[in-house]
């Protein structure tokens, strides 16, 4: 009986905690479906009196949120595809190919992980300006293209590829590129999926760098556009909650369907590292 009581208490705590974790997101969706002004009445309503989609309509028509969605999609998907390829090659090479200088270069990369990204931002802005990459989608995607943690994660995973497999392919006369394409890439698929979801997430959610590099309204990503809208529409709670929901929804759906890649990636990267 004592164990049963403890089990109920434990589950009650978990349910309350899970509700608290979800509450801000539930309220965001709820408020986005309320009529204008409804969320700012006292006491604040938890659910809409009449469900309306007018704010979503306004966001995609008068406020042309569609363009920002498109910018975010291009930057996030483009950045992710490039990152997966670049990181996959580098991680595999650091794990399996013997070349002079491999260890010092890799140690140098690891040391770079303690440097905050913001330290590089001022000179990077000047550099990109000289290269004509300010206000371009490519400029905004640069920070996600070669994240060091991704190289580290792939390297760790690639170490389990048996050398005998690679050597056999070499004896058969396969080129290194061919080996990478037909043996390494399929083997690395799970870890590349993990790296891919993290790249997508960081590109989609990033704020400071796009804010710096995209000054032209037409190139804004969703977070930058949303921050900008919030300045003009600070009183329109329901409208802003609609904008927040549109911004969060894609990463949230991606998480629901691909959560094992997130969870594996975090749990693997931390324990072995």
């Amino acid at each position: 009986m004592k164990i049963r009581g403890r089990s109920i208490a434990l589950h009650a705590m978990l349910v309350v905690a899970a509700f608290l974790a979800a509450a801000p997101l539930l309220w965001m969706v709820s408020a986005s479906l309320m009529r204008s002004g409804e969320a700012t009445t006292s006491p604040p309503p938890l659910l809409p009196h009449h469900v309306t989609f007018e704010h979503y309509r306004a966001l995609f028509t008068t406020l042309s949120l569609g363009r920002y969605v498109l910018n975010s999609v291009v930057i996030s998907l483009g950045g992710t595809l490039l990152a997966v390829l670049i990181i996959g090659m580098a991680g595999y090479s650091f794990a399996k190919l013997r070349f002079r200088g491999r260890e010092p270069v890799f140690r140098g990369l690891l040391a770079g992980m303690v440097v905050p990204a913001q330290v590089a931002m001022l000179p990077m802005f000047i550099l990109l300006r000289e290269m004509g990459l300010i206000n371009t989608l490519f400029g905004a995607m640069i920070p996600v293209l070669a994240p060091i943690y991704g190289i580290f994660l792939v390297r760790q995973f690639a170490q389990s590829i048996p050398d005998a497999l690679l050597d056999a392919a070499r004896l058969d006369g396969a080129s290194e590129l061919r080996i990478f394409r037909s043996i390494v890439l399929p083997t690395l698929a799970p870890v590349l999926a993990t790296v891919g979801v993290f790249s997508f997430l960081s590109a989609w959610n990033d704020f400071m760098w796009p804010l710096i590099v995209l000054s032209d309204d037409a190139h804004y990503t969703l977070p930058v556009a949303l921050a900008n809208l919030a300045g003009e529409h600070v009183q329109d709670v329901e409208l802003m909650m609609g904008g927040a929901a549109v911004t969060v929804l894609p990463v949230f759906l991606a998480f629901l369907f691909l959560q094992r890649y997130y969870i594996q990636g975090i749990m693997a990267g931390s324990v072995k590292g």
């Binding site: 090479s93 070349f99 590089a120 001022l122 704020f207 990463v251 949230f252």
Partner: protein, 297 residues
């Protein structure tokens, strides 16, 4: 001497890491080094049009910085966030991990995902959501508190409450990540250790102190360092929720750097702030490793 095969492998090895190294070199290593150089110059809006107008000014930017009260305020605010938010966030993560990991818990994957979900959300969006949740008049928090007789608090408008309010948002947003790291650590502790301790009559708290905490040692270092580095970089939360106010009580180092660099185009001065951010991060990391080494038997 290398054989032909070894040479081919070496070429391929370099070839495969080149795209990553070129990108990291151009867009990370060079800019980081350039930030140090920049911090000794008077690079400003005129220099952007004409690099030739830039001059080396030695330590002037640092001197100016150390004599600017707002720099010390932003440093204090950042340290407040790091020192208050960091340990609290680690504690919440560990608590959640222990709850989810308890043997009798059912639907573990559900709770694990529910706690992790805020981490995947977009900070700008949820910071906006929390800005309304903290609203003094219509916010859910004050509405809930009014039921227990606590008067309305102007969370984001009161200099004493604004930073703690941001800390709470930030814990909510981030604790799921460290919870997963702790879960991985907890699952790697052999169950026999707990069984043996239980046979010896050790209570729950004793088992936590004597087994869980020491066995999680390396995990604590990892979580501590990652959380601290991220905390030093806090920018978007105050940018969205308070714009650094009220009375500059939430102006952080990176927000200060952003405003000096990209609003007033004082890039040299701003680079000095970046260098200080870098040194602080480095010092914090070293301290964490030192503490860990001392606590190891």
């Amino acid at each position: 001497m290398m054989t032909e095969e070894e040479r081919a492998e070496s070429r391929a090895g370099w070839g495969f890491v080149t795209p990553a190294l070129v990108l990291i070199g151009i867009f990370f290593v060079i800019p980081v080094l350039a930030a140090f150089v920049l911090s000794f110059t008077d690079f400003d809006i005129y220099s952007i049009g004409d690099f030739g107008s830039t001059r080396f000014v030695g330590l002037k930017n640092y001197h100016d910085l150390f004599t600017t009260p707002l720099f010390w305020t932003s440093l204090k605010n950042t340290l407040y966030f790091v020192v208050l938010g960091g340990p609290l966030s680690v504690a919440v993560s560990l608590g959640a991990a222990i709850l989810v990991n308890a043997r009798m818990v059912r639907f573990k994957p559900f709770f694990r995902s529910a706690f992790f979900a805020p981490w995947v959300t977009t900070l700008v969006a949820v910071a906006l959501v929390w800005r309304y949740i903290y609203h003094p008049q219509y916010g859910l928090i004050n509405s809930a508190l009014s039921h227990v007789g606590i008067g309305p608090i102007d969370w984001l408008g009161d200099p004493h409450w604004a930073m703690p309010a941001i800390v709470v948002l930030s814990i909510w947003k981030n604790f799921g990540y460290n919870m997963l790291v702790f879960l991985a650590g907890l699952q790697s502790i052999p169950a026999e250790l707990y069984e043996a301790a239980a046979l010896d009559g050790a209570g729950g708290w004793q088992r936590f102190r004597q087994i869980t905490v020491p066995m999680l040692g390396p995990t604590f270092v990892f979580v501590g360092v990652v959380t601290m580095i991220a905390s030093f970089q806090i920018f978007s939360e105050p940018y969205i929720m308070t714009q650094g106010g009220p009375l500059k009580s939430t102006t952080t180092l990176v927000l200060f750097m952003y405003e000096q660099g990209f609003r007033w185009w004082r890039l040299g001065y701003s680079a000095a702030i970046a260098v200080i951010l870098f040194l602080l991060t480095l010092m914090g990391t070293a301290v964490q490793f030192r503490l860990q080494r001392r606590s190891d038997p």
